[in-house]
């Protein structure tokens, strides 16, 4: 077994033991089921698939909750082990520092992926069972997949914070700051900018770039204006018509958002003096 899987496996076992996995899975399942049955009630009999409508409400839930869970999982990963003294021992073993970073990342990602897939999956199963139709299931599955991808982005950013700072409190503060920035502040600022600018200097192409610079926005555009038909319910049809962002571009942006911070974290730990 390679070092990566050995380290990832330990992280998963740790997650099971300290109830992280159970807690996040239950939280996501409870919220998903609540949103599914309360949130899709207004559709009545208009013909819209309840699964497709649920994708819209769950996407919004994802944008708020998944980055927060991911950052909380990740911010302590390196600085915490350094603080407790467990990292020193681990690095005296025949493992490369990048293997420690990537291995731990894979473990945390597995925890997040399990919680998201099972939590949201429970809502999908409940809908298919009550409605007797599986229409819109592909869109739903894509939403779960991209939610995990968004989680990976924020685990990766959390790792970068954790590898750079030397204080756990500071790492926690920065993680919350990153969450506030990408989930709340960025969109408000962007909206304000667009209103003030009135289309004079910010072109459509520039707006695309600005959307890609926030992984939460890339996720939003990917799910709410995608080809699954959710755009009609999400109020994003206008945006999806105008945006020149194909799913391939959006997925590439998310992949870069995972790779770059994680690479930075590996580099930072590699240079760190113990």
């Amino acid at each position: 077994m390679s070092n990566l899987w050995i380290i990832a496996g330990k992280e998963i076992r740790d997650g099971l033991r300290n109830r992280w996995i159970v807690a996040t899975t239950l939280l996501l399942a409870a919220l998903a089921l609540t949103l599914t049955f309360l949130g899709s009630a207004p559709t009545g009999t208009v013909g819209a698939s309840r699964l497709a409508v649920t994708v819209v409400s769950l996407s919004s839930l994802t944008i708020f909750l998944v980055p927060l869970i991911a950052l909380l999982l990740a911010y302590d990963a390196i600085v915490g082990e350094f603080d407790r003294g467990t990292l020193l021992l681990l690095l005296s073993y025949p493992v490369a520092r990048w293997e420690v970073v990537i291995g731990k990342f894979l473990g945390h990602l597995a925890i997040l992926a399990f919680a998201t897939a099972v939590g949201y999956g429970a809502a999908a199963v409940a809908l298919v069972l009550t409605d007797g139709t599986s229409e819109g299931l592909t869109t739903f599955a894509a939403m779960i997949g991209t939610s995990i991808l968004l989680g990976a982005v924020f685990v990766s950013i959390g790792y970068l914070i954790s590898a750079i700072v030397r204080d756990r409190g500071l790492a926690g503060g920065l993680a919350i700051g990153v969450w506030l920035l990408f989930v709340l502040i960025y969109d408000m600022a962007l909206l304000g900018l667009l209103v003030v600018d009135k289309g004079r200097t910010i072109s459509a192409a520039m707006l695309d770039v600005l959307l890609l610079l926030n992984p939460a926005d890339a996720f939003r555009v990917l799910n709410l204006s995608g080809s699954g038909g959710a755009s009609q319910f999400a109020g994003m049809a206008g945006l999806s018509d105008n945006a020149g962002l194909s799913p391939a571009i959006l997925l590439t942006a998310l992949a870069l958002w995972i790779a770059l911070p994680l690479g930075g974290a590996a580099l930072a730990l590699g240079r760190r003096q113990l």
Partner: protein, 306 residues
């Protein structure tokens, strides 16, 4: 004797603080070496340099023939064991799970882990969470992980801190057995008196430099500290230093009536020979300078020199 560890003019600075200063050392196969010195003398930094956990500001470190910072040095760690000062483990895992994790990283099978737990007396606690372990149990688990994979080279940083006297004895028992198998052990400690009979070589560190190094005997010779004799003579003969020691050892009478003689190491045998000829000799007690005294003496020399 094969050289397992070689340091050549190694310096390590953290900002303006020099933790290790132009240090040259060599440790051979099968030796048990004690790094001795007070807090901040550079013991832990030296061990970290040898493990590749930190890189030298200047100089060259070779461990098992490799640079510990290189990829080859990383592979060489398969044959190295390390017990850090204040060893820590995740509280939520059990002792066996923890050891299995480290065992996998050293490509060791489960039975080896169970054997090691038995060796350090943790079999009964193998399935208990480490959070419930006492300090001594954590230290023993730390020793077990250091012994994974039958290492050729072992670094033990303050290994007996927090262990009760009984555990210390069993700990040194394990170290002695390793020495018998040809394992090179480098241990740092404050507990100087514990180390005396157990190590081949002592390196006294002070402000990042090796003040002195050698066997305990050679250190005693170098320090020129006197050997002390206490002679007990039967009633009537006590109270006066016998004339036969005149010119050989300085003598005085202690409060309890015993005669105390103090001489240099080279005159030891002659003092014993003459004492044996004393009429009414009841008991003779010999105190060679302890490691604590040697350490204090070297430090004093250093301070008066600077």
């Amino acid at each position: 004797m094969t050289t397992l560890v070689a340091l050549e003019k190694v310096t390590k600075r953290y900002g303006t603080h020099t933790a290790v200063n132009d240090l040259t050392l060599e440790f051979g196969e099968g030796q048990c070496i004690a790094l001795v010195g007070h807090n901040g003398a550079g013991k832990t930094t030296l061990i970290k340099l040898m493990l590749g956990l930190t890189h030298p500001t200047a100089g060259r470190v070779r461990v098992l023939g490799e640079d510990p910072l290189s990829a080859a040095g990383q592979r060489a760690r398969l044959a190295i064991g390390y017990l850090p000062e204040n060893v820590a483990f995740p509280a939520s895992l059990t002792g066996l799970e923890m050891l299995r994790f480290y065992g996998r990283l050293k490509r060791q099978p489960r039975p080896e882990c169970e054997d090691l737990l038995a060796q350090v007396g943790l079999t009964a606690a193998a399935h208990k969470r480490i959070g419930t372990y006492s300090k001594g149990m954590r230290q023993r688990l730390g020793l077990a992980q250091a012994l994974l994979g039958a290492p050729r080279l072992l670094f033990l940083d303050e290994p007996t801190t927090g262990l009760d006297p009984f555990l210390r004895q069993s700990f040194y028992g394990i170290v002695a057995a390793l020495r018998g198998r040809g394992v090179t052990t480098v241990l740092s400690s404050h507990a100087l008196s514990e180390l005396e009979t157990r190590v081949d070589k002592i390196v006294v560190l002070h402000e990042g430099t090796a003040l002195i190094s050698g066997t305990l005997e050679s250190l005693r010779t170098m320090a020129r500290l006197p050997t002390i004799f206490r002679l007990r003579l039967r009633n009537g003969l006590a109270g006066k230093v016998p004339a036969i020691f005149e010119g050989l050892a300085a003598g005085s009478v202690a409060a309890d009536g015993a005669i105390e003689l103090s001489c240099t190491a080279d005159r030891k045998i002659e003092v014993i020979r003459r004492a044996q000829g004393l009429a009414g000799l009841d008991d003779i007690e010999i105190q060679s300078p302890s490691l604590d005294q040697l350490y204090a003496a070297f430090l004093q020399d250093k301070q008066s020199a600077s």
